[in-house]
């Protein structure tokens, strides 16, 4: 096997040095009746050229030449070439978790920079080293709010990503956490008066998303201040992290979570991506996940180190703030490099193109097709398209023209029928938008 540098003569020498004659002797501790006395029934080994063929063929079975208007939590943005070039350095991608600070300063400093960028984008004071993804990040925020408030009830907007709410439900079920959903208004925004009515002193936290699942930008200040009146924490979730480059930062929220895939991470059929969680300094000891701190070494030089580990499972075991043992270091590094490359002006340019092109698509659909765009509130790069009639047939016809018009909303929002969520980013060309509009006529 080409990944194993131990030749037959090496084997003999190593065994001989131990007074053994066969490798089999080393497995004497495994009872005979538990041994597998046949080869595994998996495909025979492939050479490298065969592997490349195999995967090239599999990759080519996925549609690539489609104009895709899919977003819904996973976004196609332009990723500068330097991102993949730098994360492909094996110093980064083949390194272990940076527990040994003296030989991990590269990873540690990069994570510290990630943490700093996330605080800048979210308007919060501290951010962790990342979590699995947005869905588990917002769920960890719910568990954190439960620890902080010692209350168990949460009010969650229906416009939070449906898959995120599903994950939240799975984690919550056995911990006595009660989740009540809050509806949206015809504006596309959360029903603040319903939220107000539902809030009382038993509520641990509220969870809202901006831009919400319909692409609508929420007024997070109003919701957060209502929560604060009752001692509940406000959790603001952001699936489309790029939007933070131009939208007002939710600095009034107690916890901001989300998904940073938009910041330079490939869509990769939904993962690996990178979740983030940011909060106030006073809540730092209730945070889940790794944290990198800045300190000094014995000679007084600046040095970075994993810190506040007494919150974590390898020290605290069943009393840890979370069972999480990893972060998404390499994906967090992608986001860090992406943000360094864009800088404030590039970020602004990208955000403006998302907003302007989306606005163009909305205007074109409204003026040139019989279909409706729902919800008048401002949006970032997504909108809900409701077909006048015959949605499914129309979608099929668009697919035949190599256009994926968007994410069907009916499953999560039956009241929206066959409406689809359409996403337009800076990578969407006018030609693609016009083709979609043409196909919708």
């Amino acid at each position: 096997m080409r990944y194993i540098p131990c030749s037959e003569s090496d084997r003999k020498a190593l065994l001989g040095s131990m007074g053994l004659t066969s490798i089999e002797q080393l497995f004497a501790g495994i009872p005979e009746n538990l041994r597998l006395r046949r080869l595994l029934n998996i495909p025979s080994a492939l050479s490298e050229p065969e592997l490349l063929d195999y995967f090239q063929k599999a990759a080519s079975e996925n549609a690539e030449d489609y104009a895709s208007f899919l977003g819904a939590g996973v976004y196609r943005h332009f990723i500068p070439v330097v991102v993949d070039s730098l994360i492909s350095r094996s110093e980064f991608y083949t390194a272990y978790t940076p527990y040994q600070a003296e030989v991990s300063q590269g990873t540690l400093q990069a994570i510290f920079e990630f943490q700093t960028y996330i605080t800048q984008l979210t308007g919060q004071e501290v951010a962790n080293a990342s979590l699995y993804d947005g869905s588990t990040a917002v769920t960890e925020a719910v568990l954190m709010a439960r620890r902080v408030t010692r209350r168990k009830k949460f009010l969650v907007a229906r416009t939070v990503h449906p898959e995120y709410r599903a994950v939240m439900a799975t984690y919550s079920r056995n911990l006595g956490i009660e989740i009540q959903t809050i509806d949206y208004l015809p504006t596309g925004r959360i029903d603040v008066s319903q939220l107000d009515k539902a809030l009382d002193d038993t509520v641990a936290g509220i969870v809202i998303q901006t831009p919400n699942f319909f692409g609508t930008i929420e007024d997070t200040v109003a919701a957060s201040s209502l929560a604060a009146k009752h001692g509940a924490l406000s959790i603001v979730n952001v699936c489309e992290a790029l939007s933070m480059g131009i939208l007002r930062a939710p600095s009034e929220a107690d916890i901001v979570t989300g998904e940073a895939q938009s910041l330079g991470v490939p869509m990769s059929y939904g993962g690996p991506h990178v979740g983030f969680l940011a909060t106030h300094e006073k809540l730092v000891r209730q945070m889940p996940g790794r944290l990198v701190g800045m300190g000094v070494d014995q000679e007084g030089r600046r040095a970075f180190v994993l810190t506040l580990a007494t919150r974590e499972q390898h020290i605290r075991r069943e009393r840890a703030t979370s069972n999480i043992c990893t972060n998404q270091s390499l994906c967090a590094l992608m986001a860090t490099i992406y943000l360094a490359t864009l800088g404030p002006r590039g970020l602004r340019d990208a955000c403006e193109q998302n907003i302007r092109k989306t606005d163009y698509a909305v205007a074109q659909i409204q003026s040139r097709t019989p279909h409706k765009v729902l919800f008048p509130s401002p949006r970032f790069n997504e909108f809900v398209l409701q077909f006048k009639s015959g949605g499914p047939g129309l979608i099929q016809r668009l697919l035949q023209k190599n256009i994926v018009p968007g994410f069907p909303l009916g499953r999560a929002y039956p009241e929206l029928g066959d409406a689809v969520l359409v996403c337009v980013t800076e990578t969407t060309t006018r030609r693609q938008i016009d083709a979609l509009v043409e196909g919708l006529k």
Binding site: A28, G29, N62, Y96, A169, G271, V284, P378
Partner: protein, 491 residues
């Protein structure tokens, strides 16, 4: 030399300290659509002027910054990582190449299934390989990491018991287990109880029998355990667990010790999580992303997290969401697909003979290290070990040299430290797992370094206690960093 300021490549500043207004590394094609003024589209009150504190950098600066940082990392392409329980093996380059194929990297999780059959085919093939390797009946690829897999597995156990009418209360976990085990049990709503290990470093079967009762939902073992010892009484353990109506969970962190040799499904395990970033060589990435698929026996299949990869009558693959008994979703979408591609690529590169050889050489290498260091380093448990070996710092501690110091001194010899102070049942544990991808020369160099450090602990303990001396930095004052945490750059 001392009067000359060191070049930045030895002292790279933070991103936020470099750059200059007006520099840029990014551009887009000009806007190709008509557009209204921005304020007409989005109310001004919802917008921010800029992101305060973000640096403006050129491409050269970005490249140099991260390249410089990268040179401060130890990594597997540089040399052996003796980290026990972490299975730091070579990451084949072809895995990276195939994962970046545009058909994979650009696939959107909400593409209609007929447009992503290639993606689903990879996932189906990986599931099939993992079923066979583990001897289990069904697999979910959804969990993002090992601890996430543990949570998934325990939630499935809970769903199973609930379906029998009683979720039960306790989960028993050996005292040698990874910290994630009890943490995952706790957030599944169960009470954790420790099972003590016996003098051979294995689960004390009598103690287990004593703890068993009808409120025990599961026993969570690691096999081979964290001492690298195969639980030779595993069949008896499974019998005790099952006769009480409980289920047997296995932490698959050490699966690299049994590929093609023995299978958890054949020794009574009901649920198993598999760390693709260990056994199946997806890169550690400096701490993630990992992937933690869960394999289960037939009785647990109804409870798999949805969606479940399914083959339609016409042979096409799709994700079934209609799973009424499912524990629910545990992560958005269908898992870390990028890691699934790498793991499958590794399995296919090996084939059945290659995987078996992997385990054989991993065990050979670990035993070689054991035989060469035994005596100089104390061996607390004498039972035969498989892919890793746990020593203690007992001999060196007499000179005031701890396992922590030994690890730091190894850095001066060009090695990453081993896993230290774990498992908790060994005081001053030194846990070493070389893996199969180290040559005899690399093993000998590591052994020589370990022996040299032991010698120094005798003759010059202060040298070891003040190590490292040749690293980029000296030891970090971790207590001070935790007392007054600085977690972001404030300028």
């Amino acid at each position: 030399m001392s009067r000359v300021r060191q070049h930045f490549n030895l002292n790279e500043q933070l991103l936020f300290e470099i750059g200059s207004a007006g520099r840029r590394a990014y551009d887009l094609p000009p806007l190709d659509t008509d557009s209204r003024p921005l304020e007409e589209i989005v109310d001004r009150g919802l917008l921010r002027d800029s992101v305060e504190g973000m640096p403006e950098l050129s491409e050269v600066e970005v490249v140099r910054h991260f390249t410089r940082l990268s040179t401060w990392n130890y990594h597997i392409d540089l040399g052996l990582y003796p980290l026990g329980s972490c299975t730091m093996k070579h990451n084949p380059k072809v895995n990276e190449t195939v994962t970046r194929l545009p058909g994979f990297a650009n696939a959107h999780p909400y593409m209609p299934p007929n447009l992503v059959q290639g993606v689903l085919g990879v996932q189906a093939s990986l599931e099939a390989c993992l079923r066979e390797i583990s001897g289990m009946d069904a697999v979910t690829l959804q969990p993002a990491a090992g601890a996430h897999g543990e949570l998934t597995g325990i939630l499935m156990i809970r769903a199973y018991h609930e379906a029998q009418g009683n979720p039960r209360r306790r989960v028993l976990v050996p005292d040698s287990a990874h910290g994630t085990n009890p943490a995952s049990v706790a957030i599944s709503g169960y009470i954790v109880e420790a099972i003590r290990s016996n003098a051979n470093g294995m689960v004390d079967v009598q103690a287990l029998r004593g703890l068993m009762a009808d409120d025990v939902a599961a026993v969570m073992i690691t096999n081979p355990n964290t001492l690298g010892i195969f639980e030779s009484e595993i069949a008896a353990i499974a019998e005790i667990v099952h006769s009480n109506g409980a289920l047997l969970y296995m932490d698959g962190a050490n699966l690299n010790a049994m590929l093609g040799i023995t299978r958890p499904g054949d020794f009574g395990v009901d649920v198993l999580h598999i760390n693709l970033h260990k056994t199946f060589t997806t890169p550690h990435g400096g701490g993630g992303p990992g992937a933690g698929p869960v394999a289960v026996k037939k009785i647990l299949e109804p409870y798999l997290p949805y969606p479940v990869l399914t083959r339609a009558q016409d042979g096409a693959l799709f994700y079934e969401t209609d799973r009424p008994e499912s524990i629910g979703k545990i992560k958005a979408y269908t898992g870390h697909f990028g890691m699934h591609v790498r793991a499958l690529c590794y399995i296919l590169a090996n084939g059945p003979e290659g995987l078996k050889e992997t385990t054989e050489v991993a065990v050979l290498n670990a035993n070689y290290i054991r035989s060469r260091l035994q005596g100089v380093y104390a061996l607390p448990y004498k039972s035969p070990t498989l892919h890793e070996v746990v020593f203690s710092d007992k001999n060196q501690d007499k000179r005031g040299v701890s396992v922590w110091d030994i690890g730091k001194r190894l850095i001066d010899y060009g090695f990453h430290p081993p896993t230290t102070s774990f498992p908790l049942i060994v005081s001053g544990a030194i846990m070493i797992e070389p893996t199969e991808t180290e040559s005899r020369d690399e093993l000998d160099a590591f052994i020589a370094a370990m022996l040299a450090v032991a010698q120094e602990a005798e003759t010059n303990p202060e040298l070891v206690k003040s190590a490292p001396h040749n690293a980029r930095i000296r030891r970090v004052d971790e207590a001070a960093a935790a007392r007054r945490p600085v977690l972001r750059w404030k300028g």
